[in-house]
Symmetry: C2
Subunit: 414 residues, 2 copies
Amino acid sequence: MRHVKYALCINKACGLQVEPKPDITLCPKCGEVLDITYDYEYLKSTITREQIEASTDNSFWRYKPFLPVEETSEAPALRVGWSPLYEKHGILGLDTLYIKDDGQNPTGSLKDRPSALCVVKAKEAGRTSVACASTGNAASSLAGSAAAAGLSAYIFVPERAPKGKLAQLLVFGANVVSVQGDYQAAFRLSDMAIQKWGWYSRNAAINPYLMEGKKTVALEICEQLNWQAPDWVAVSVGDGCSIAGVWKGFYDFYQMGFIDKLPRLLSVQAAGCYPVHKAFRAGTEEIVPMSEDTLADSIAVGVPRNGLKSLRALEASNGLAVEVSDEEILAAMCELGRSTGVFGEPAGVTGFAGLKKAVEQGLIRKDEKVVTIITGNGLKDTANALKAAGEPISSPPDMDRLLVEFEKRGVKPE
Amino acid sequence: MRHVKYALCINKACGLQVEPKPDITLCPKCGEVLDITYDYEYLKSTITREQIEASTDNSFWRYKPFLPVEETSEAPALRVGWSPLYEKHGILGLDTLYIKDDGQNPTGSLKDRPSALCVVKAKEAGRTSVACASTGNAASSLAGSAAAAGLSAYIFVPERAPKGKLAQLLVFGANVVSVQGDYQAAFRLSDMAIQKWGWYSRNAAINPYLMEGKKTVALEICEQLNWQAPDWVAVSVGDGCSIAGVWKGFYDFYQMGFIDKLPRLLSVQAAGCYPVHKAFRAGTEEIVPMSEDTLADSIAVGVPRNGLKSLRALEASNGLAVEVSDEEILAAMCELGRSTGVFGEPAGVTGFAGLKKAVEQGLIRKDEKVVTIITGNGLKDTANALKAAGEPISSPPDMDRLLVEFEKRGVKPE
């Protein structure tokens, strides 16, 4: 990887530079997470915007030169990324809003990006099995990418995990272990098994390559906006890895001179779980764990493992932090669906919900260009969608009665 | 529409040529369905393969010259089509199998193609509302495309429709009418309401434009295979409109000289509902209604409205018909997921299930090039996916016990 300098420990007091082998995890000196660091001067000499635009690869692999992979590594088997960016006018009172629909990924979420990259790195490391502890999109995306690549997947879930969430994993043929205990028990057993059998770990808490997969959503936004960075990007935040990845993507292309400014980040957490925002407001890098009281399960992370990276991204971007209630999240799901035809899961529309609040509070002006990323498909969680969407109009099979029912509901057919 | 000659009544005894206005329905003379007929000589003078390949439009709209739309009509608001075609070796014993994953559409099914086209035609007709009677993918795709385009949608469903299926429609802001009665009652009320308010009808039974949207999946296959038609295309069949659309797409490009042969069609129906196959085997164009006894709800169509078109496609392609049981459909869902990372709903994988059977029976040789179309996303129906996928491995949080559980299940970690 001529274009990668090293993996840098993000603990400033440590700052260790680690050789970027495919199976590195945490800093061997201080235990903090690592950040992949590129040689932008070298990259500038090898790749241009025009070369990227000429690519016929309709996936995130069109940005291979900016990914921490060997030149000889083959593209992932699934078509991940290059999701649509819809330009809308007047929504939430904004002159121009761009909707990046990352629910349009093979298994239905942005997590397909890091999972696909994870499988590439596992192969580089010579592994035939990958593993993680998760009940959510990390697990289903890993199971899908592994199946497509012919690798075995081992997924550890707490016993309370709803069975519906396991369907996708099991169909992909993953070895799903339901651990008698809570998430921490599942995580610990996965960790022991990973050590014992030498599986490749897809755990954003320790694997620095995953964020590099996530950043591709930002690279795409730059190209899709014709190399004009937006004024704002609104993102839902749980573990912190996604918003940090988004920032890294813009940072990469800014360093390359591909965009001439960096956007501001609007970080949105659930009002029932916002440990990153608490630290951000207190001006500290110490993140205090919080309970996980939100229906947006994909961002219900009381102990964010990439909290520090997300805080740094928020600070560097002169960002803002907004929290939204579960009711606001469900309302946003409907407002987004009705105005754009995009259906997001609760955590997937949380950025949009926070954007609505930020606009109403005057934090974002109506003439600013805003992108919001929909991180997961609404089909992932139809139970909460039904809570949001209300009841259909009930009518006997009779036109007169239908008219009455329409009037009751204020429907004026035309 | 200079490139469209007329809409032709498919009743050979009638053969009326109808002016292709945007709101035509059935043949005004005999009541049979119509087929949009193109002027291929004109098309040959205006468009080449190279021009198509040069398009940067990553949607089915790249084939606009072959769609029955006005030149001035704008692209649909959602990015529909241009779904991935995965090349696989050794699956089902076939040297080369191509998986066309049409679950990768905005609302999760192939039906996004006709629904997006429907909304374009509704706008051409000057309508602001669209309507249909459906509980399935036709309804959700119409609701999504209408929301994105700023049109109102009216969807009529029978009262027994599972609520989970309504979530997507309601989030898209459709006016969903739950009709007290069965599907026929819902259909009749929708028909009366459509007449009364002049809504544009998305009903494949009467609207000849919908099949033209469906055909784009075949146009994409041709281009993605570098203009080499496959030997076989395996498709699940319910109403008959999809397989007829697939055939129309290959036919269009064959007439243009873009491909030098036509594929054979493998039509796959559920063993609990196969009225099209019964007529095909009897050598008649009279389709006798059947009960709808299959869990693959998207193809449980006892009275196929486009049965005649599908029969003609089967005959013209020298096709084959195979039925599969619900058990075979569920098993195919897992076999597909495990070997490719593609997750299809039951009807979505029925073509794959029938292909497996056809290969085992020696009807298709292992060296023949086969495409199978996955018509809907597995997230549409996780309840049946769970039936298919079985149970996870249950274990206490203890390595020794995990080893025991792995052994019991025959899992050999490596």
